[in-house]
Symmetry: C2
Subunit: 289 residues, 2 copies
């Protein structure tokens, strides 16, 4: 069994990017610049945005953090987005989700210029992904693809079961793994809350992408010997084992499933760190346009 | 076994649209207007475009046919598209594919304003479909969805196998049937040329969408009793049985498969006529924006 080490892989990618940015700087080229808009003071959002900004600083990108009050109007937020769209120094930017309830998230996502949509959530980015055209892939699916590629996981002709049809992970993963490319060329079964016989389907799978957001949902008796398991879930649960009083669990019952797998991602340290790596890769791509 | 009669259903839809256009006319509203650009003189393309124009005339839509020489430059074609994009009388338009080799089809598709993209091929249309946002669905998948709905075919929790991953049929069908709506909520397996054990997968399917373009590919021993079979293929083969010397075959070995099915689409007269109905529905929708 080989652990798909997202933490280490993300670090490697960041080292490669550091090197590339240094070369760009030496040649007097445009230094990639990522901006993030953070609305309000949600704890998790603060943490995510901070880690993105820190990663930019570490590898030599420019970064900007725009903080807005939770009470900001939708119009004001859209104006901020227009400003970033027009700012040629900023190559890509993200609006950290979720947003306060009085703001229409979809409207906000669609206001971001597709050329700067490094989160890959804009309909144009999603459409280009489906059509196999160059563009920004959503960061988490892109991170999973990168991880599979770097570990040379075979995918062609494999049966992949994706559990969960979210717009940001399950649905794009089902599209990416089915396309005629590497990683890809899988026979893909997309499962969700209405799926019957999920266990039987999982037992047929060579590759399972667990992205439903239920702690330790995927049990050992649902996984066939030698399967590849990618765990996208992160659920915070109370724990007496840790000082903090909580721990992170994935969608996979890791200790029991791992021994059956050819490859598996841990939680934490699997898919999570790859998401940031993808965001940084997307930002570099945006800066080269 | 119930035949999903696309011809009859398309006629019904066109009657409904005729009625609606008559009411719009009475109220002095905007009459829907569809334009088509036809490049060159390909026989099949001529036939398709002519039938679209004729359908418009029959139901009371405005229609325009713009014919361009096969030698037209890409720049000239793009200029024509810009003209149609800007023409407020024209609600929607299509560029009949395929285009001559010297023209970049993708560039042409992306030049069409998403607001007038009644074929639903633009990345914005595809992205909005994936995200479940309002927009134009690609005409053939939309036609299949309409047919399933009008015959009240149950889909929730069913296992659907889609054979073929084309951008215009297989891939969008896999997305539409998996989404949380009716028709939809299927567990969807997307199969293609790299799929192994296709027969075993098909035998698990409650619903099969055959969209690979190989005449009579799906045999009776690949279909379980009571399955719903939708045949998207149209292959023209030589025939001594017809006056014309050829006949149209679907991707399904109809005479042997049909007796096992709960529902099945014939070829011709199944999915084909529904594509035109969808185009007309999309055009009405465009005119109401």
């Amino acid at each position: 069994m080989i652990v798909l080490d997202g933490k280490k892989t993300s670090e490697n990618i960041q080292l490669e990017l550091t090197e590339e940015v240094a070369q760009i700087r030496q040649k007097g080229g445009k230094i990639p610049h990522l901006a993030a808009i953070l609305v309000g003071n949600d704890g998790a959002s603060e943490t995510y945005v901070a880690s993105k900004v820190k990663a930019c600083e570490r590898i030599g990108y420019g970064s900007s953090l725009i903080r807005l009050e939770a009470s900001v109007s939708e119009a004001e937020l859209l104006k901020q987005i227009d400003t970033l769209n027009a700012n040629t120094d900023i190559d890509g930017f993200i609006v950290q989700l979720p947003l306060p309830k009085h703001i229409d998230e979809q409207k906000v996502i669609e206001r971001i210029s597709p050329e700067k949509d490094v989160d890959g959530f804009h309909p144009v980015s999603i459409g280009r992904m489906v059509l196999g055209l160059p563009g920004f892939l959503p960061a988490t699916p892109a991170g999973i693809m990168e991880l599979l590629e770097r570990y040379k996981v075979e995918t062609a002709g494999k049966h992949c079961v994706v559990i969960g049809r979210s717009h940001i992970v399950g649905s794009p993963m089902s599209i990416l793994l089915a396309r005629n490319a590497y990683p890809g060329n899988c026979t893909v079964t997309l499962c969700h809350s209405k799926t019957k016989h999920l266990k039987e389907l999982c037992l047929q799978a060579d590759i399972i992408i667990a992205a439903l957001g239920k702690a330790e949902f995927l049990k050992a008796d649902m996984v066939k010997e030698g399967a590849v398991v990618v765990d996208v879930g992160i659920t915070r649960v109370a724990s007496t084992e840790t000082k903090s009083g909580w721990k992170l669990l994935g969608d996979v019952d890791y200790t029991k499933v791992a021994p059956k797998c050819s490859f598996i991602t841990p939680v934490p340290g699997g898919v999570g760190p790859m998401t940031i790596a993808s965001l940084l890769i997307n930002t570099l791509k945006a800066s080269k346009k």
